[in-house]
């Protein structure tokens, strides 16, 4: 009997610990990222351009004041941009920076952020400064949503660039495993991929877009 009660207890406790649920992506972001360098060769931060999928763009712009139908000016989108930036803080701007293996803290974006709307696609532009400029041999910037609610993907062409980087620094980037699905190219992550994940791993991190700078 006590064994049974223990089993029930274990079931309850493990359920209580089950914690975060994993949503499937509801928002798709196609991004371009720029690394900003100070004259002394240290990195001061990154600049993101995030384009949302058209379904989410339609949802996010719903009910916003507009002068011309189908057109949103930067000013008309300013309140939404503020909501975006404020909300992003809770998610650490989905940007995780490591310098020579050490985590680098980020500051909140300055007020120069904005949204634009072109061809039913909403794009968020913002700067994300590091708390302190970073000079590192190996800099790693990962962009992902740990809950996979937002799916990030580097743009097809020139997704990553540097501004004023020292000549000896080499820039590389790495796309996450494919998690896009379309009618024509049904590239689906296999069962094997998911089985290869151990439970302790951070799921979202497996879908990280990585930027690596080596200044060796």
């Amino acid at each position: 009997m006590t064994a049974l009660l223990r089993i029930v207890l274990v079931a309850v406790v493990s359920l209580a610990l089950a914690g975060h649920a994993l949503a499937h992506p509801h928002i798709w972001v196609t991004m371009k990222t720029e690394l900003i360098y100070a004259p002394d060769g240290s990195v001061t931060g990154v600049r993101h351009d995030w384009a949302f999928d058209d379904m989410y763009s339609a949802f996010a712009t719903q009910g916003l004041d507009q002068q011309t139908k189908g057109v949103f000016t930067r000013e008309e989108l300013a309140p939404l941009a503020k909501v975006n930036i404020d909300t992003l803080k809770d998610s650490d701007y989905f940007t995780f920076v490591t310098a020579d293996g050490k985590k680098i803290p980020l500051s909140d974006p300055p007020a120069d952020y904005w949204l634009d709307y072109n061809d039913t696609v909403l794009t968020l532009h913002f700067t994300l400064p590091f708390k302190q400029p970073v000079k590192a041999k190996n800099l790693l910037i990962e962009i992902y949503d740990p809950t996979i609610y937002v799916d990030f993907e580097f743009a097809k062409e020139n997704p990553v660039s540097t501004v004023g980087a020292p000549a000896q620094c080499k820039l590389k980037y790495q796309r996450p495993p494919e998690m896009k699905f379309t009618f024509s190219q049904g590239k689906v992550l296999g069962e094997a991929f998911f089985n290869s994940l151990t439970p302790a791993q951070n799921w979202g991190a497996r879908f990280a877009n990585k930027i690596m700078v080596n200044c060796g």
């Binding site: 009997m1 359920l15 209580a16 975060h20 649920a21 699905f181 992550l189 302790a200």
Partner: protein, 348 residues
């Protein structure tokens, strides 16, 4: 678990298996993968074998969700795309409900704790899925169509509804826990009193045909446990209680449905969005009902085994119900505090 069970007698071992099965079923909704551990203790809580199946579910629903926008767009010019959309919506609903989400976890626990019947289990889980579709449609129709509200306002509305829904779940769980916990401790007390036990009635059978006039006799047969008994549930009052559970779970709309509805609205195809949402609801209803049926079935097996052991078996059954009741409340708290995430709307 297996080692524990080996030391117990055969019927109890089977009961243990049933309990384990029940645990797995109840966890179906809550066992997602260890992301950042909410309690900071980290390192492996859920069993790894969930990864494969759950990962597959995740990939499938992801795919179908992405198909939705394209199909809505083509439905604008091509009428036959509407049928494709309805089909995709339905399949998306089936997979989406199989993935993480609090709905089926709460409903399954509720059904086990409350000793509900198969029929009622189906009706309750289906009703909650349909209600979910209705709230999504209602929110978008009123907020976006009539008031031209912004996405932020809709998000705020959903947040309020969500909070109310979670508080409801906590209250339902607390009430169940009070009733079931009392029955359990009373029974535990009588068990430990070692009084002669010769009343070996066929309880389960009794209850299936129970009427209100049996209440007295029955209550004493269950070791003076005046708990929420099946005969009480069978009446209209029981239905009303069940509806409270349905409302508390179904109140919170699916964020995917809201995004799809608003998108359809901007494409000038709101009615297609509504049809799609109902198909999602239908798919969700089927999955949630099936999972609820598994939970009810597992409880039935546990009850059958418990009957073979009049004293301790009943105690075990009551313990199971108490645990399930506690689970409903725990889910409510986890949801309210954000440890068990459901879905957000304004992800960014």
């Amino acid at each position: 678990m297996a080692i524990e069970a080996r030391h117990t007698s055969l019927p109890l071992r089977r009961a243990a298996v049933a309990a384990a099965a029940l645990g797995i079923l109840l966890s179906a909704g809550a066992f997602d993968f260890a992301l950042a551990d909410p309690f900071g203790v980290s390192q492996g809580s859920p069993p790894p074998e969930f990864g494969g199946f759950a990962g597959w579910i995740l990939a499938e629903q992801s795919m179908f969700y992405q198909m939705l926008s394209g199909t809505i767009r083509s439905a604008k010019s091509n009428g036959s795309a509407v049928y494709a959309l309805l089909g995709i919506s339905f399949v998306y609903g089936v997979f989406h409900a199989a993935g993480p989400g609090h709905g089926k976890a709460v409903i399954s626990s509720y059904l086990v704790a409350n000793h509900e019947t198969w029929r009622r289990g189906i009706v309750l889980s289906a009703a909650s899925a349909v209600l979910q579709s209705l709230t999504a449609i209602l929110i978008v129709a009123v907020a976006a169509l009539l008031l031209n509200a912004t996405a932020k306002m809709m998000d705020d509305t959903v947040n309020v509804i969500e909070t109310v829904s979670y508080i409801f779940i906590i209250l339902i769980g607390a009430r169940l826990l009070w009733v079931k916990g009392r029955a359990f401790t009373k029974l535990l007390w009588t068990e430990t009193q070692e009084h002669p036990r010769d009343h070996r009635h066929d309880h389960e059978h009794d209850h299936r045909h129970a009427h209100h006039d049996h209440e007295e006799e029955d209550a004493s047969a269950w070791g003076h446990a005046h708990a929420l008994e099946p005969q009480e549930l069978a009446g209209p009052r029981g239905w009303r209680r069940g509806l409270t559970a349905v409302v508390s779970v179904g109140l919170r709309p699916c964020s995917g449905a809201i995004i799809v509805l608003v998108f359809a609205l901007t494409q000038g195809l709101f009615w297609i969005g509504i049809a799609s949402t109902f198909m999602m609801g239908l798919g969700t209803a089927i999955t949630v009902a099936s999972i609820a049926m598994l939970a009810v079935g597992a409880r039935g097996i546990a009850a059958k085994i418990a009957r073979a052991k009049p004293g301790r078996g009943l105690l075990f059954l009551r313990g199971l119900e108490t645990a399930a009741a506690a689970l409903v409340m725990i889910f409510g708290f986890l949801l309210l505090t954000g440890y068990m995430m459901s879905e957000k709307l304004m992800g960014i």
